[in-house]
């Protein structure tokens, strides 16, 4: 290969991609496409018939409340006292200038804006409970909670959270005696509401009859440990290369291998800004892929590795 072709830009046709003056071969493009379609359709049908597809049912809040009530109550307390993942998330759910990831000095997360405002205490706990009628103990507990000043509310819920933490298995029934105010009543009623299926519907349709935004029920569910436990059992956790994987024995999104790889290694797996770092890196690498023809060095790899001599071996043999 002449040195001039190394310097050739992609728009310089002549030196690195000479005009073909040789022979042609008969090539039926349409027949080729039809054959390809038949092959791919057949392969698809065979794979679908033999392996089927995964469809592990979604976990409603009712399922969570029934299968892991202790985790539900612990999470409900965290939503009430504003210490849950969602409550401390920052944009787009909560207006907190100190929260959110940064890319170097750039607070990209905050720049996105609080476009889906959520008040976890009100939206996840107090609001749904306020709709329950015929339960004087609950009504009284709600009134007591709402009438109390904010720091008193915090004292009650903070103390109850600590007590649950110390209780064997986080079981509310085994909590030590203490001054928790109306919080235990609120969370146990919320558990009942969830078990009966009422909370699923409430969180979804708070804004109206027709809803497609599942943010509230999903965020509440994801604030707990139960969903993640189910996921990790299927190797779907972030540090299990989970992005590539699928439930059961099925192949997943193997093409996400490089995206998930960074989450397995430092500094990404240790940094508070890990997501922002990975995203920025993948944007850069994607740009490199797209603009490959213009990147000196990288664009010479095909010429240097000479795999092309295998592809065009008949051509080179005939030219000798």
């Amino acid at each position: 290969m002449s040195a001039s072709s190394v310097a050739a830009t992609p728009t310089d046709a002549g030196r690195d991609a000479p005009v073909w003056t040789g022979g042609y071969r008969r090539y039926d493009l349409v027949k080729e496409f039809v054959a390809a379609l038949a092959v791919m359709a057949l392969l698809t049908v065979i794979l679908a018939a033999v392996f089927g597809s995964p469809d592990k049912p979604a976990i409603p809040l009712a399922g969570w409340a029934q299968n892991d009530p202790n985790d539900f109550v612990v999470t409900a307390v965290a939503e009430l006292d504003g210490t849950s993942g969602t409550a401390t998330y920052g944009a787009p759910y909560v207006n907190d200038p100190t929260a959110g990831q940064k890319l170097g000095p750039l607070p990209l997360q905050r720049w996105g804006g609080v476009r889906e405002p959520i008040d976890t205490a009100q939206d996840f706990v107090l609001g749904p409970l306020s709709t329950v009628t015929g339960d004087p103990m609950l009504t009284a507990a709600l009134a007591q909670y709402k009438a109390a000043p904010a720091d008193q509310q915090q004292k009650w819920s903070g103390a109850y959270a600590d007590a649950l933490d110390k209780a064997p298995d986080n079981d509310p029934a085994k909590v030590a005696a203490g001054d928790y105010g109306p919080v235990p009543v609120l969370t146990s009623r919320l558990l009942d509401l969830a078990r009966a299926g009422g909370l699923d519907g409430q969180l979804l349709t708070e804004k109206g009859f027709y809803q497609t935004d599942y943010a509230k029920p999903l965020l509440f569910l994801a604030d707990g440990a139960y969903l993640e436990e189910q996921a990790r059992a299927e190797h779907l956790g972030g540090n299990q290369w989970g992005m590539m994987n699928e439930t059961g024995r099925y192949p997943g999104q193997a093409w996400l291998w490089l995206y998930t790889f960074w989450y397995q290694v430092p500094p990404f797996n240790k940094s508070d800004n890990g997501d922002a770092l990975v995203w920025a890196l993948m944007m850069v690498l994607s740009l490199v892929l797209v603009l490959l023809p213009f990147i000196p060095g990288l664009r010479s790899v095909p010429r240097l590795t000479r795999v092309y001599r295998l592809i065009w071996r008949d051509h080179y043999r005939q030219r000798r």
Partner: protein, 220 residues
Amino acid sequence: MTSTDERTGTDERMWTARLRRRAVTAWPPERLLPDRQPAYVASWIYVFGVLTLAALVVVLVSGGVLALEGPQWYHDSPQGHFVNSLHLWSVELFFFVMVIHLWGKFFMAAWRGRRALTWVTGAVAFLGSIATAFTGYLVQSNFDAQWISTQAKDGLNAVGVGAWFNVLNYGQMLLFHVVLFPFVLGVLVVWHVLLVRRRGVVPPFPDGTPTAQPAEEVEQ
């Protein structure tokens, strides 16, 4: 009027006439649907482009059936489950052949000879396919969708995108998956294929033998 074509009577300044002229010049019928290829097009690696296109057709048809019956149909219907399986495996096959096509085109340095845009549209279509598949996983309305959405939101929120592209909003993600992304992907794929037809299949690397190498490529 001097701009009128004497034989056909067409005013060649018309936008319609100009567009037609440019299209027919770039893609005369024998180039749009050729019945021959240069002799060097003689390797199985060349079939992976058309295999990708074929797999895409199966993806679209199976997805279309799922769309016909609505997004929850496949959970409760055995026929629906089978169509969902068709959609899943056609997507796996699509990525399988598309990536091999990418590997082949890379090792051929297929961007040579004014074909950079062909590479660019192909690479963007590849990334667009990943995004489209991702939204597909989000709208499965099952456990996997719950997990993927609550995890993915962190990555997107971290860079401010999640506030606008809300992966927890099922309706929004369904529309992206069925309408918005496929439309963009369709445009990219058509453009990519038209570029391949316009420039032809990239010729082999010159092997350094002293045969005449024209300085400028002549449009075939």
